[in-house]
Amino acid sequence: MNKIDNSKTGRREVLKGAGTVVAGAAALATGTEVAEAAGTAPRWAMVMDLRRCIGCRACTVACKAENDVSLGRFRTVVQEKTVGTFPNTKKGFLPIMCNHCEGNKEDGVPPCVKVCPEYPGKRMTFETPDGGKIRYRGGATYKRPDGLVLIDAEQCIGCGKCIDACPYGVRSFNPFVKAGKKPENQAADKCDMCKERVANGIDPSCVNTCQGRARIFGDLNDPTSEVAMLVKEHDLAKNVLLPEEGTDPHVFYIDPDNMLGKIYKKRTKGKLDHYVDLIP
């Protein structure tokens, strides 16, 4: 139940409740983004409740189908790991995807966007739900005022810098889409939070099919949204992947059993073999 409420009071309340989110607010007024008329964008975020993830891979396959993701790469995966010694053995599951990072505190630009040679590109306008307009800059990779980090294949030159720069390694080349500005290369690709579904008020495909409701999607700027309430209730501001990278990820993990540190297989620089969904 992600009721979208864009009242400014509501937004302030959630910001008070979740420290690191403040970076998001700062970013709107700094860097390359320009706040124009009064208007408040949603801030889309995902909460992964690891208590509820049963490792069923419905999200992985739903994503494959929704976006027709080619073989050999993924837009979301579930990592799993067995730990302990028989009979005291445990196994945990960790769904991972693009974190739709806010970017570092200094300039509010995620690392993938920062390295994109085509960013900042064309001037774009984001119309907020409350009728305001926020101007921002597009690019082959760019961050929209609602927090979604997106790829514009038409602007892409297929250089792969964003793929290398992402500390999470969740980007890959799409073998079926040419880079618009350099068609001899393939365009970069990754999770876009099912932006067309979201734009039409339908939850993302992976969220929709998650049986345990381990994936919860919504607007962090709306204090009544489930994601905002969960972030507050479970104090999830720092329960993100690689907080030390300072990327300010917007995928938060409810993890009372501290499985995150045990399961998460980080990317090896220059490789993507951690971002493969493979059941042992």
Binding site: M1, K3, I4, D5, P42, R51, R52, I54, G55, C56, R57, A58, T60, V61, A62, K64, A65, E66, N67, D68, S70, L71, G72, R73, T82, F86, P87, T89, K90, K91, G92, F126, E127, P129, D130, G131, R144, D146, P175, D192, K195, E196, R197, A199, N200, G201, I202, D203, S205, N208, T209, C210, Q211, G212, R213, F217, G218, L278, I279, P280
Partner: protein, 841 residues
């Protein structure tokens, strides 16, 4: 959003549609104000943003058959997801379901009829027309029927349910053959036989929405289960939302075990023993509840008092102490006692069992122990407990059966193999046919079934199909070339489930029946034809008519004749909405406690059993004869059962509505079993092969993973990508004893043969066991399932994605070294009893 019913689902969809009118696309006002995120029901192209056409339908990747939505873009199926208005699935769909799209478009699909031109297995075929194909079939079937030997036509199916089964049975009845085989003995027949001997009709549901405690023996329901999506999501939510504990007994750390409050490792074949030890604790510590005892029979006496019953149960389980159970099962006695106490003291509790428990020697008896454990704690057929499942009861058109309507006795295994093969012994159909003493079909037609892959000793099955002298004409309806269809004489290209009509009826997880339909999302590819459309055509060619013209007509007629669906708007309503349930239905609980009027003509009380039965309906000559012969002494009397006399009342109780003749009591003491020399009361019977094991031998068990069905999904690329190889799970100690390290090539062998795989050395399995999943090692499953295109041209379009495929391993098939060996009670294939040796390859 999960509690949306159909009506407000649709109205919400409308509301958001209105909101969207303001501006479609990203960064527009579509999200303005108070739009609530919907739980699916609509989908949009990620490329163009265009809304896709949404059609309600139903899944078929496994028997769960979730109601779902299909999304079509420019005539091509793009996406599937759960039906948000379904009370069963609550809008969810599993990984297999999501990959249903692959079933339509995999590049090795067969899209035109093929007639064999070389020898069986030579892969030489010619493309023929449907007209020629059906004339050929009719030329084989008509003479058999005309000669009064319709039983020499055998049909065997793997996954047929609801209207697909109903249309097939209608045709077969009108044709005249009863030689119709199924696949249930490789599935879980022991479970049903155990249950039928007790409460009549079967299929237990677990009432997770209301339960307070769950104990699970051998069911991997977070990954795979015959009612996976409806039950699994309710269980994980019960755990997290309401703190319901889940204890899983399993040889292997499945995902279900991993997500349990506690994984309790157990040696194979001992589930029933641990249950008996739990019963021992509960009885001796006085933790039982007497509420359900009046419905139970636990000794030869049908009229025992509750105190006598308590004493009888105590006596029966006295030897099964937790300490004894520990000695065999490896589960610590204290753990058994702890879980027994928790189970008995919980306000309500579910006792779950599945293949891990029942696919063993005396598996049916282990299921009876499970029922007993539920019953003595008043968790049988009570809210929050193990309850009798309900599914939709459809009415359907039917054609009168042929005058000559008979079958060969080849479905129930070899003579004496199984005492109660009420779900048949399907894995032995091939060997019994080869044996020949009970006759051999002249025409064998199988569909949605791959006997040369899915049965034990599958190479033997393969050789039976290959030998033309055993069965002269083989027909298969299939979407793909496989281990069995390679030997057919005629391949008929079936539609996928996404291209056909059906009504559906799978059990609900909330005790309220859901009626739902499957409708085509796209036109069948190529020349693929639905069998339900083929039957009426074939009937005409043979010389008879069916009561329906095609599958759509069958479904239409059914919708117009089924009470409830009809009033809701019949076929038109179902096409639009996909699902229907009675909004006034309160759920199936407590049916056994209903008082019954026994004043009817011919109803008498049988003194011995306490059964009210109708001697007139039973066809007995006089009341005196009926009284003298008694209920149990009168053949067919169970069909005239009326009620059970319990504490001075006539109650509906547990009617004997299966092949077991019994009273209305739960027959924990079973005359049926005793009469066949089997344990009358649930007990522990060691597995003979395990008793005779040498020190260096291991038990091999098989299992399913979350992303595959047994044999129908390896060609689905999105699933094969995630799981395509099946290493043997082996405990680090067991491996070390054999000098085996993780990733080593290993040989697994026994008298039947040898397979080679790699070792997955893990702490997630009990020592002394090797577990190998049973999906892989496909001879033919196309590029994605077997790494090579099939050796025939099926006429499907290539998939440009194939060049991106990056896996080279395709696993090994454990069935090659698993004998076809039946539980002597139920005829179930004993998948979990195989003894092997394992060594470094």
């Amino acid at each position: 959003m999960s509690k949306l019913n159909r009506r407000n689902f649709m109205s919400l969809a409308g509301a958001s549609g209105a909101a969207l009118a303001a501006g479609v696309g990203t960064s527009k006002k579509a999200l303005a104000g108070n739009v609530t995120f919907e739980n699916g029901g609509r989908d949009f192209s990620p490329v163009t943003g265009k809304e896709r056409k949404a059609i309600p339908t139903a899944c078929w990747q496994c028997v769960t058959r979730d109601s779902m939505m299909g999304y079509v873009e420019d005539g091509r199926l793009k996406k599937l997801e759960g039906h948000p208005g379904s009370i069963r699935t609550l809008g969810k769909l599993c990984a297999k379901g999501q990959a249903g799209v692959n079933q339509v478009y995999f590049p090795d699909r067969i899209l035109h009829p093929l007639q064999r031109v070389g020898k069986r297995g030579e892969h030489k075929w010619k493309k023929i027309s449907w007209d020629a194909a059906l004339d050929l079939v009719a030329s084989k079937l008509k003479p058999l029927r005309d000669a009064g030997t319709p039983e020499l036509f055998m049909y065997q199916y793997g996954r047929h349910k609801a209207s697909q089964a109903a249309t097939m049975y209608d045709f077969m009845g009108a044709y005249g053959t009863k030689t119709i085989g199924n696949h249930t003995s490789v599935c879980e027949a022991a479970k049903w036989v155990g249950q039928e001997s007790l409460w009549g009709g079967m299929y237990d549901n677990w009432d997770y929405d209301k339960t307070d405690y769950v104990v699970n023996f051998g069911s991997n329901q977070f990954e795979t289960h015959t009612n996976h999506i409806p039950t699994s999501q309710r269980l994980i939510r019960a755990m997290v939302d309401r703190g319901v504990p889940l204890y899983t007994f399993d040889v292997r750390l499945s995902n279900t075990a991993a997500k349990s409050t506690e994984w309790v490792p157990i040696n194979p074949g001992n589930d029933g023993l641990v249950m008996l030890a739990m019963i021992n604790v509960i009885m001796n510590e006085g933790l039982f509840r007497e509420d359900h005892f009046k419905y139970m029979r636990v000794s030869a006496d049908h009229h025992a008092t509750t105190d006598q019953k308590i004493a009888a149960i105590k006596a029966e389980v006295a030897e099964f102490t937790p300490a004894f159970a520990e000695s065999r099962s490896g589960v610590p006695a204290a753990k058994i006692a702890e879980i027994a106490r928790g189970f008995a003291k919980a306000k309500s509790a579910c006792l779950v069992t599945y293949r891990g428990t029942v696919m063993h020697f005396h598996g049916a008896d282990q299921e009876r122990a499970a029922m007993l454990l539920a019953a003595i704690t008043n968790n049988l057929d009570t809210p929050g407990g193990r309850v009798m499942g309900v599914g939709a009861g459809w009415s359907a058109p039917s054609t009168p059966a042929a005058k000559i309507h008979k079958g060969l006795h080849i479905k129930d295994g070899f003579k004496g193999e199984a005492a109660f093969p009420t779900h048949h012994v399907s894995h032995q159909v091939g060997p019994v046919i080869k044996d020949g003493h009970a006759g051999r079909p002249k025409v064998y037609w199988w569909s949605c079934y791959n006997p040369a892959f899915i049965n034990g000793d599958n190479k033997e099955w393969s050789s039976i199909l290959q030998d033309e002298s055993i069965m002269p004409f083989l027909i298969t309806s299939t979407i793909t070339y496989d281990e069995s269809s390679q030997y057919a004489d005629l391949i008929l290209p079936d539609v996928t489930y996404l291209e056909r009509w059906d009504w559906e009826d799978m059990v609900s997880a909330n005790q309220i029946a859901e009626f739902y339909i499957r409708q085509p999302l796209i036109k069948p590819l190529g020349e693929a034809r639905c069998q339900g459309d083929v039957w009426p055509d074939l009937a005409k060619r043979i010389g008879f008519e069916l009561a329906w013209t095609d599958k759509k007509d069958f479904v239409r007629q059914s919708c117009e004749m089924t009470s409830g669906v009809k009033e809701a708007g019949g076929f038109d309503y179902m096409m639009k909405e996909g699902v229907w349930h009675d909004p006034n239905d309160k759920g199936n609980y407590g049916f056994y406690a209903k008082e019954v009027d026994v004043s009817g003509d011919g109803v008498i009380l049988d003194a011995k059993t306490g059964v009210y039965w109708n001697w007139k309906k039973a066809g007995v000559a006089s009341e005196a004869d009926a009284m003298s012969a008694g209920y149990l002494g009168t053949k067919g009397a169970k069909s005239s059962y009326v009620a059970q006399h319990i504490e001075g009342k006539a109650l509906s109780a547990y009617a004997p509505n299966t092949s077991f003749t019994k009273s209305g009591l739960l027959d924990f003491y079973s005359d049926n079993f005793k009469g066949k020399g089997l344990p009358a009361f649930p007990t522990f019977t060691p597995t003979p092969e395990h008793e005779a094991m040498a020190d260096d031998e291991l038990i091999m068990t098989t299992y399913k993973v979350a992303v595959h069905s047994h044999s129908r999904t390896t060609h689905c690329k999105w699933l094969a990508e995630i799981k395509h190889d099946n290493p043997g799970w082996i405990n680090s100690k067991t491996a070390a004893d054999r000098g085996i390290k993780d990733g080593d090539a290993i040989k697994v062998h026994n008298g039947l043969g040898e397979i080679t795989t790699t070792a997955y050395v893990t702490e997630g399995i009990v020592p002394g066991v090797i577990a190998i999943s049973h999906h892989f090692g496909r001879q033919h499953s196309g590029i994605y399932g077997s790494g090579k295109s099939n050796p025939i041209d099926g006429g499907a379009s290539p998939d440009p994605d194939a060049k991106n495929m990056n896996w080279k391993k395709h696993g090994v098939h454990p069935n090659a070294i698993i004998p076809n060996s039946s539980d002597p009670i139920s005829g179930t294939q004993r998948w979990m009893d195989t003894v092997v040796r394992v060594e470094k390859a």
